[in-house]
Symmetry: C2
DNA sequence: GTCTATAAGAAGATAGAC
DNA sequence: GTCTATCTTCTTATAGAC
């Protein structure tokens, strides 16, 4: 594979990643992606044999991004509560996109879960990355409730994203994030 | 319109309602619906000029169901907290479907919100029914925080549904519903 | 009201030239 | 590695017989 090939492959993944977030996987056609990149469908199929293979590459790309973000948070915030509040802050930082398109992980998983189980299982691993990281962090506060708490924080994040998305309302997101922070403050 | 026509129309709406929930709107074809009802596509198009018109009928059907359910809860539970807990209980009653297909309202709204704004606006009215009802009920506890609380309970319900759906895990739904009830118990 | 037949277009994917 | 051209299938929707 030449250098030029790698560049094309990455451009495809990045364009498709955005399209799949904003339009949904099943509503994004191979032509949409090719048009966005400025190549033809035939060329795209040289890089990715099928649409599913493209999605797998996108999920791999997302998982890598998430992992490096979590590692950076680990370095940047020594205290457990600081780490947890950084997670909440992520939602506020992504306000515009969340309100317009929902949570990128949640909406993809929800779509695939209906009847694309193989792809959903793959996509779910994005959630696993956050869940395991949160569980480790919560364990520093209380070793017994860490799993339940990690799931609860994820659930509140999903609820906040979903409601602010459905109502296209930044205030809902801000209010729910404030409640999440208050919940974190009240722990132990 | 004859009596037989009305029966067909209702059978179409009920079958399409289920299919759109389990497969998603955009992934449910007119043929899928016609096959499920046992009629032809041509016949279905006699009853509904377009797929969008069919969805509007489904949303109307759902809104009617929700309204009558809320009215029944009003009659059945005189106390505000009883009403609120009945809302939480609804999620537990629908455990099997929520875990397999997510929240019927949330998943439809999330799908339509991506790039079908007219249909999403229509679908959002299902949420409005719950939100207004919850707001009135919360107002009996505290007149000032009723709107924020109604949104928060809806957000927790969406988060609980989403997480238990993504992880196909009834325990997550039960745990989150328990936390919702504890939150309700702690109010005022 | 229900059917068959068909139009007209978009989808994912492939073959082969360059 | 990128292109054009094509295939097949599926989609929504329509026309017209019964």
């Amino acid at each position: 594979m030449t250098v030029k090939g790698k560049i094309s492959r990455e451009r495809i993944i990045e364009a498709a990643n955005r399209l799949i977030y904003t339009k949904g996987f099943n509503q994004t056609s191979v032509s949409d992606v090719a048009d966005a990149v400025g190549i033809t469908k035939g060329n795209l199929h040289y890089h990715f044999k099928s649409k599913e293979e493209l999605l797998e590459a996108i999920i791999c790309f997302r998982k890598t991004s998430i992992s490096s973000m979590l590692e950076q948070w680990n370095e940047e915030f020594p205290e457990a509560k600081e780490k947890l509040k950084r997670f909440v802050q992520m939602l506020l930082n992504e306000e515009k996109d969340i309100i317009r398109y929902g949570c990128p992980m949640g909406s993809l998983n929800a779509e695939l879960g209906k009847f694309q189980p193989t792809l959903q299982a793959n996509s779910k691993e994005m959630f696993d990355l956050f869940q395991h990281w949160l569980e480790v962090v919560f364990k520093q506060l209380d070793s017994k409730k860490s799993k339940a708490r990690s799931r609860h924080l994820l659930a509140m994040g999903q609820g906040a994203s979903m409601m602010s998305y459905i109502y296209s309302d930044a205030k809902i997101l801000k209010d729910e994030c404030r409640l999440m922070n208050e919940w974190l403050d009240a722990l132990n």
